[in-house]
Symmetry: C2
Subunit: 202 residues, 2 copies
């Protein structure tokens, strides 16, 4: 991907000409407040009232900018997905290029586990619809894992192995492991790492 | 599991005392007809009219015995799941006991792929609800794969490896591979086998 492709992709979420000054500032204040509150309490415990108060703007502004709570959450997920994608595609090692492929793969697994834990509610909705479960960002993640398996000279069916690894990072699966089976994110990271190492033959 | 445990488990779907004679016969005629038509055309192309005609009973009888088309389909899935469970837990090798664990594991993967393909619609509904996705029959399948990995002396985190292998047998995943990615059941069987062999270290 060239730098101009990258700018074009990111421009999708950039402010439109109408969103200048206060409007753009309020948008960022609301997104930052929502991100902070969700990190503190989990998404289910964060209301539009909470977000507006924390951002120091009126609740009407929230609805004018995002339409609904779900609309704000979708923008948040979309922006965070793009930041994560930038990090593993172009950012510093070990997540980004520069580290050996196995190291990148292990860093990716641990990073994605944290991401799906923080964004569980929204990712879970997307994953329950088979039309989006295997499309959109899911395809990019799968392609990234497959590429790293391939450059790590992994033998065998790379599609199946990438799919098997990506399945262990599914939002509902991770939530089930954490909430119903008493596992921790660290344990899941170690288990993912062990499985990835084994598939890479080391 | 003892023979009496097994009988107790199977008795859940056995006819109740009220279901004697014609009633029990009609029930079996309807289930057999539904099973046959679904195998021929896929579940989406089979109506309650089709099933009643093929079974040679009135449509009213179908609704009296099963409540609805969905009710009949659930009984069908439940009965077929039990037959498959019997086969891999107590049936002849290579699926059942007697064969080496790796052979049993490979036979299980291919058998389950065919099963989820035939029962896609119903399994897909169950898998989209996180309450049932990791519960009920799904737990038994996972435990079976984990047990075979363990008896094959597989190293590393067995939970994660069992979950990764079971994810490749998910009904929506299999349908996506067959319908959207042009793969065949044979190819998916070979890919599953290659991944399972690798995790077992052979």
């Amino acid at each position: 991907m060239t730098a101009s492709d990258r700018r074009a992709r990111l421009a999708v979420t950039d402010a439109t000409p109408a969103e200048r000054g206060d409007a753009a500032r309020n948008r960022e204040l609301l997104l930052d407040a929502a991100r902070r509150l969700i990190a503190e309490r989990g998404p289910d415990a964060v209301s539009t009232d909470d977000i507006a108060v924390a951002a120091g703007v009126g609740k009407g502004t929230l609805f004018r900018r995002f339409g609904s709570r779900a609309g704000l959450m979708m923008v948040l997920l979309d922006e965070d997905e793009k930041v994560e994608q930038e990090a593993f595609m172009f950012g510093p090692p070990p997540l980004g290029p520069g580290a050996p492929p196995l190291e990148r793969l292990l860093a990716y697994g641990r990073d994605r586990l944290r991401f799906v834990h923080c964004h569980h509610a929204l990712l879970s909705d997307a994953a329950r619809d088979p039309q989006t479960r295997f499309a959109g960002p899911a395809m990019l993640h799968r392609a990234h894992v497959r590429m790293l398996l391939e450059t790590a000279n992994t033998t065998g069916d790379l599609d199946a192995q990438a799919d098997a690894l990506v399945a262990l990072l599914d939002a509902d699966y991770v939530a089930h492991q954490l909430n119903d089976r008493g596992r921790t994110l660290d344990e899941l990271g170690a288990a993912w790492e062990a499985t990835a190492r084994k598939l890479c033959g080391c």
